[in-house]
């Protein structure tokens, strides 16, 4: 075995080796880069880059759609013409009136006026 004259490397030598960078690059490598750079630029001009915040657009659209659906759902009773078959019967109104009779004096005058003109199937 060949005798080894080397010493254990110093910290300075280790730092020196670890910190070394390449002095130059090959012409072939530079040429490959130029071709690649050309492709990057061509791709960018062919398809414009979406706006940086474009990822916010889709959650925004979904949220808006859900909100619109909720509004329609909540207001649909106002949008759909009232179903006359579901109106309370006159007998039910009489029963309701009887139940509320004792409370009537406690109602404000304007509420009493409204109660007097409760809709019935006859006047709809």
């Amino acid at each position: 075995m060949k005798p080894d004259s080397r010493q254990r490397p110093s910290d300075a030598e280790i730092d020196r080796l670890l910190g070394s960078q390449l002095k130059r690059t090959s012409p072939e490598f530079e040429q490959r880069w130029r071709e690649l750079r050309g492709q990057f630029v061509a791709t960018a001009s062919a398809s414009p880059r979406p706006h940086r915040r474009s990822w916010l657009l889709w959650p925004g659209i979904v949220t808006a759609a859900v909100a619109a659906a909720l509004v329609v759902f909540i207001l649909r009773d106002d949008l759909i013409p009232p179903d006359r078959t579901k109106l309370v019967t006159f007998e039910e109104l009489i029963a309701l009136d009887s139940a509320l009779a004792s409370a009537t004096p406690l109602l404000a005058a304007e509420n009493r006026e409204v109660l007097l003109y409760l809709p019935t199937p006859a006047n709809l």
Binding site: D4, P9, S20, L22, S26, W33
Partner: protein
Amino acid sequence: MPQVDGNDDEDGAVFTRAATGDERAWQELFTRWKRPLLAFFYRSLSSMPEAEDLTLEVFVRLHRAAPRYESRGHFSTYLFHIARNLLLNELRRRRRKPTLPLPPDAFDYFPSTATNDSRQLAELEEEFQRALGELPEAQRTLLLLIQQQGLDHSAAATVLGITGNAFRVQLHRARQRLKELMSPRS
């Protein structure tokens, strides 16, 4: 050794311009990072052709990621995160390939009062590259990120996916192991 921290925000801004297809911005990034990346890959793989392929691949990955890039951290952390993933893929994929060592004059060793004799330097370079190759990948990458690339400790820990404490332990072990591997064998 590149001064990473001072230029990181600037690099992020250049990358944002590059993402819009700005050719000069791409060139600026390449000019700044080609040699650090080549050195990183060469020291990791002992093969210049592979180092060149992977360096260009880093730029391809950057180009693909550009529309989604948000400048929230150091650009160099992002860059070497990509580089390390490519390196790990390559190490998993490759069979044992013959190494293609570069001569010492390919490197810009910073001045030292120690070995300057060319023959000794050639031996030292050969021994260094061999020893690096015998280090576990994580230890080798850690040393390269800190001492070759000048990343700060937290950035290097982020690239490696380890905590600050684990980082300090690993750094100490890596240096010790490298010195052992470069020591004359009995």
